[in-house]
C-alpha cells in the first residue's frame, strides 16, 4: 500500500465511522430513552427456548436437506427417463416458488390434513415436524443441484478408471466421485447451510415456536423496541457466523490444494 492509498483508506474509514456513529446516536436519541433491558431479561426463558428450537430445526433440516439433496441428485442421474423428468419437474417447481408459499401450501393443504391428527395422538408437535420436513425438501432441492454440479464436474476419465479397476457403481460414487466432488462443492454447501438457518425463521408463519416467533411475541407483549430486535439479530448471527467462517476457511484450504 503506498501513501496515497493509505490516505484514501483512512479517509474513507473515517467517513464511514462518522456516518455509522451519526446513525446510531440519532436512533438511540429516539429509541434509547424507552429501551428497557429488564424486559428482555424478564422474557429470557421464551427467547432462550425459541433460540434452542431454531438451533434444533436448523440441525435437523441440515441432515434432512442432505438426505433429500442426495436423493434429487441421484434421481436426476437415473437411467430411467421417467424418474429423471419427474425429479427435474419437481425441482423446477420447488426452486421457482417462494419458501413462504411452500410452507403455507405444504402445511395447510398437504401435510396438516394428513398428518396433524396421527402425530398429535402420539404427543408430537406436528407443526415442528412438518415444518422441518418442508424446509429440508426446499433446501434439499438447492443442495441437489449443487451436488449434481459437483458430480458432473468430475472428468470422464475418473469414472472410466474407477470402472476399469472393477468398482461397482456404488463404489465408484463412494470412493472416487464423492470424495473429489465434495471438495469442490463444500464452500457452496456451507453457503446454503447459512441460508437454511436464516430461512428457518419463516417457519413462524405456520406457528412453530422458534426464535423469530417467540421474539415477535415478546415484542408485541412487552412493547419492546431495540431491546427486542437487537437480541433477535444477534441470536441469528451466533448461529450463522460460525458456518460462514467455516465456509471461508474451506474455500481457502481447497483453493491451495488444487
Amino acid at each position: 500500500m503506498n501513501r496515497r492509498q493509505l490516505f484514501a483508506n483512512v479517509l474513507v474509514a473515517m467517513i464511514l465511522a462518522v456516518v455509522f456513529a451519526w446513525l446510531c446516536t440519532s436512533l438511540f436519541a429516539v429509541l434509547g430513552k424507552q429501551a428497557d433491558w429488564s424486559k428482555t431479561w424478564e422474557y429470557r426463558e421464551a427467547l432462550w427456548n425459541g433460540w434452542l428450537v431454531t438451533l434444533g430445526i436448523s440441525f435437523a433440516a441440515l441432515i434432512g436437506s442432505i438426505f433429500f439433496g442426495l436423493l434429487f441428485m441421484l434421481g436426476q442421474r437415473s437411467h430411467l427417463v421417467v424418474v429423471r423428468c419427474t425429479c427435474r419437474a419437481f425441482l423446477e417447481f420447488v426452486r421457482d416458488t417462494p419458501l413462504l408459499v411452500h410452507l403455507l401450501f405444504g402445511y395447510f393443504v398437504i401435510f396438516a390434513p394428513l398428518l396433524a391428527r396421527p402425530l398429535g395422538e402420539h404427543g408430537l408437535d406436528d407443526k415442528l415436524i412438518i415444518g422441518v420436513l418442508l424446509l429440508s425438501v426446499f433446501e434439499g432441492a438447492y443442495l441437489g443441484e449443487i451436488l449434481r454440479g459437483g458430480v458432473e464436474s468430475i472428468p470422464r476419465t475418473q469414472w472410466e478408471s474407477a470402472r476399469a479397476v472393477g468398482f461397482s457403481p456404488f463404489q465408484v460414487y463412494r470412493y472416487v466421485i464423492f470424495p473429489q466432488a465434495l471438495r469442490r462443492v463444500l464452500p457452496a454447501m456451507a453457503g446454503l447451510f447459512v441460508s437454511l438457518i436464516k430461512d428457518s425463521s419463516l417457519l413462524s408463519v405456520i406457528g412453530v415456536a422458534e426464535y423469530f416467533y417467540n421474539t415477535r411475541n415478546v415484542i408485541s407483549r412487552s412493547y419492546a423496541g431495540l431491546e427486542g430486535y437487537i437480541p433477535l439479530a444477534v441470536g441469528y448471527l451466533i448461529l450463522t457466523l460460525p458456518v460462514a467462517w467455516l465456509s471461508h476457511w474451506l474455500e481457502k484450504r481447497f483453493r491451495h490444494e488444487t
Binding site: 476419465t157 475418473q158 472410466e160 474407477a162 476399469a164 479397476v165 461397482s168 470412493y175 471438495r183 488444487t258
Partner: protein, 243 residues
C-alpha cells in the same frame, strides 16, 4: 492368450468405430494394435477390456465368450487390468492408496494386507520413493508407471493398455515402455495400442493393423514391418517411418 473376435460392430452416432471387425489370434503373449488415429484401435481395446459392449458380434478370450450383461462385465473387468492414455490415478489419493483401495474394496484383501501388497507393487517397479505422493506431485511417466502398478497388482489375466505413452515426452515414454517390456518378459498377457513402431516391433508376438473399424492385416512383427501386404498398411507405415 487366445483371442477370437467375430463380426464386431460398434457405432457412436453415425460413426462406425468397429465395422464388422474380425480377428483371430491363436497364441500370443503380446498383441499390439497399430493404425491411424480414429481407425478404431481404442474402441476395439475398450470392447476387449469390457468397458463397452458391442452393438453386434462376438468376443472370445481364452475360449470364454464375453458376456454383455452388466454384472458379468464387472466381474470380467475385475480379473483384468486396464490403463488409459492419462489421468488414470485418483487425484485425491496417494500412489500407495491408489493401489491399495481397489485391492481392499474390489479384491477383498484386509486393509493392512492391501497396503503391504500395494507397497510390493510399487517396489517391483522402483516407485517406492513416491508411495506417499499425490498424483499431482508425480511426473507424467511416474503417473503412468503407478497406473500400471495398480493395473497389475492383482495379477490380471490380461493387461489392456490404450496408448499408454501418447501423452508423454520421449524420455518418459522410454521409462514406461521399459516397464511394459519387463512385464511382457515376465509372462504377462498384454493387448496394447501404440504409435511407437519400434516398440511394437520389439515386444509384440502379433501385430494387428486397425483402420476404418476393421483389421486390415495381422501377422508377427517381422513380417508386417518388413513387407506389409495391405496397401493401407504399406502407406501408413511408409508415412510413420519416414522421419
Amino acid at each position: 492368450m487366445k483371442l477370437e473376435v467375430t463380426q464386431l460392430t460398434k457405432c457412436y452416432g453415425k460413426t462406425r468405430a468397429a465395422d464388422g471387425l474380425s480377428l483371430s489370434v491363436g497364441a500370443a503373449r503380446v498383441l499390439v494394435l497399430i493404425g491411424p488415429s480414429g481407425g478404431g484401435k481404442s474402441t476395439l481395446l475398450r470392447l476387449l477390456g469390457g468397458l463397452e459392449t458391442a452393438d453386434e458380434g462376438i468376443i472370445e478370450i481364452n475360449g470364454q465368450r464375453l458376456s454383455t450383461e452388466v454384472s458379468a462385465l464387472q466381474a470380467y473387468r475385475r480379473k483384468n487390468g486396464f490403463l488409459f492414455q492419462q489421468f488414470n490415478l485418483f487425484p485425491h489419493l496417494t500412489a500407495r492408496h491408489n493401489i491399495a483401495l481397489p485391492l481392499e474394496k474390489v479384491h477383498g484383501h484386509p486393509p493392512a494386507e492391501a497396503l503391504v501388497l500395494a507397497e510390493q507393487a510399487l517396489d517391483r517397479f522402483n516407485l517406492l520413493d513416491h508411495a506417499d505422493k499425490l498424483p499431482a506431485q508425480l511426473s507424467g511417466g511416474q503417473q503412468q508407471r503407478v497406473g500400471i502398478a495398480r493395473a497389475v497388482a492383482h495379477q490380471p489375466e490380461v493387461l489392456f493398455l490404450d496408448e499408454p505413452t501418447s501423452a508423454l515426452d520421449p524420455e518418459m515414454t522410454a521409462e514406461v515402455l521399459e516397464l511394459i517390456q519387463e512385464l511382457a518378459e515376465a509372462g504377462q498377457d498384454i493387448i496394447l495400442s501404440t504409435h511407437e513402431m519400434g516398440f511394437a516391433r520389439a515386444v509384440a508376438d502379433q501385430v494387428a493393423f486397425v483402420a476404418a473399424g476393421k483389421i486390415e492385416e495381422l501377422s508377427p512383427p517381422a513380417g508386417l514391418f518388413a513387407a506389409p501386404k495391405s496397401a493401407l498398411c504399406q502407406r501408413f507405415l511408409s508415412r510413420v517411418m519416414r522421419y
